[in-house]
Symmetry: C4
Subunit: 200 residues, 4 copies
């Protein structure tokens, strides 16, 4: 089983999700610059969700780069991840139309949390299939980003429910920034392996 | 005729269908957890349709894996399958806005039935093109899942019309579960063939 | 310049167009079988547009199969074709909401006519790039289907304007059927060339 | 890191953007030819945005053709470009519903300006990764089109704000035409290099 189609299908779904959100943005009612003000938070939440989907696509890209054989388990773990990602435009929209009120803001965190869990499951499936000398296992190392993110999401959900939703939103932004900082683990491991092969 | 484009086009269509359905989900009107309750059946039917489209994508992936040469007949049989699959978001939506009433629930089954028939036709076209020693024919064996599913759909349509629509919905879920249970027929046949070639 | 991306981009656009149309289909207002009656013409026009897009994808697939080098002119001729195809869901929708009245039915024909013209231009660009022994030129032969279709579309536009719109619709269906009849020109020419090469 | 997925993902996003805009076009309310008149400016702005997205896809295609190794920086620069492109349907729609009034017309220019900037950044990343003998650097030469376009966009924004929005729209059309004029820099450089290799 080649990985071409699992990549193409995931690319398709994430490309659609990232562009669907623009459709959700209602154009401002007036034509003055002032009419743009209420659109600003909507726009910023679109930027945040765009970033999250971009981060997922980027990491998915890197992770699948280490895969050589696709198993049936991976296909389902991947669909499971895409399922939670597909809810991101929905919760972004719900949060927007309600001006970031408690429950929708908490749900935004819930979908991010479940996406992180789904990503971990897919990662686990790939590592399991690669056996003892798994490149992916080597590459992610202690995976502190992967471990700390779900905890931050849970914290943000609690903050959102306890009426400090701006703190929750700040946490969502913070986790995105953590992931945006270049992470060359997989690239480095692949380079090291290449060099060893040549050197051997 | 390579199979690259038939795969890419099918991936594209199924990726769009699976994500379109999220657009159909209206965000809850209120912002309390209670406002989510009416969304739950809508959400569950979205999960069910997501699963069905995921199953079709998965099986399509495996089936095309056995194809080496794409014929004109396959292209049309594939478009016919995509046509019925493209109606799944429509019937899911119709069922949702009417709270799973009789006729829409029966139509949901009808679209699933026609999709199953279209899948069988495509399968038949591929087997025919592979001739006597068809790998796909070998792989699907007696194809009891493929044979039993349309019967269950017809049964569910009858149940939906006869006002026992919850039984119909249970059947839809049941058939999805049958297909979710890992089915390693094609993978196993391919492995056996590989081993024989090496052994020969 | 490889042809991979021009194929991928066209596949993406046509896949989106073919699925967008389902979104345009409004679910029936009631829940009885009778409530489906007004949806039937809408459904049939969706089937017709699905067929047309399917035919274009199919022919595009075959035509690009003969291409080895993509030129800048081809890229633009292809975008021009995609432009007119992208208007098919729009005119289908306009025709539907107005119960197939004169002007929208004529415009449906106009978009089909322009798509056929755009397809001819792309075909011409490819033949020109292949020079004297163009495989595509050999394959399409006299191209009577390509020549007769625009004439039928023009005829249908006149019929639609002259209040005999059902005759116009019948013509649209008729042209689709002409194209559905298997056309093995490209496949045959490619096979003949293959045989010659082996024989030589 | 191969460039297959960055191409596939970009193709997907641009294909969706280019087709989403059709959904934004509301069908005319009446059925006479006269009812089409108010749709004409909407249609023309759709054509303009279609052209811009087509130009970006075309140039992206050529630019990535020179890339051999994809870096993490390129992935993010590419996502940044896709972000601004994804706002084109939004500003097109805003401009349309307000009959090309001042602020929306200026914002249309702003999104075009930011897209041009994002494109330059991606171009810079690629040139940097290719080192001293960068093929892309050689191919774009002085890049006068790339340098002049943002200036024209800024000028158009000023014109739009100063109530001469038709001049602004004319400038948007003018820049599109500049880019439509065939530009064989990359093709020529690649051909020259090929000839040298063979000759050497």
């Amino acid at each position: 089983m080649g990985k071409g189609r699992i990549e193409a299908f995931s690319d398709g779904v994430i490309a659609i999700l990232i562009t669907i959100m623009v459709l959700e943005m209602k154009v401002p009612e007036g034509v003055s610059v002032r009419d743009l003000i209420p659109v600003i938070p909507v726009f910023l939440s679109y930027v945040l969700s765009f970033l999250y989907l971009g981060i997922y696509w980027n990491n998915h890209h890197h992770m699948l780069h280490t895969v050589e054989k696709v198993t049936g388990g991976m296909l389902w773990a991947n669909l499971h991840l895409l399922f939670w990602l597909s809810l991101i435009p929905f919760v972004t929209h719900w949060m927007n139309v309600n001006h970031f009120s408690r429950v929708p803001t908490a749900f935004y965190g819930f979908v991010l949390f479940m996406s992180a869990v789904a990503y971990s499951i897919l990662q686990g499936r790939i590592i399991a299939s690669q056996g003892a000398g798994s490149i992916l296992k080597l590459a992610i190392g202690k995976d502190w980003k992967g471990k700390i993110s779900p905890i931050f999401y849970l914290l943000a959900i609690l903050l959102a429910i306890e009426e400090t939703r701006w703190a929750a939103l700040a946490l969502y932004v913070f986790v995105a920034i953590i992931w945006l900082i270049p992470d060359r683990r997989i690239e480095n491991v692949l380079k090291t392996l290449e060099r060893k092969e040549k050197g051997g």
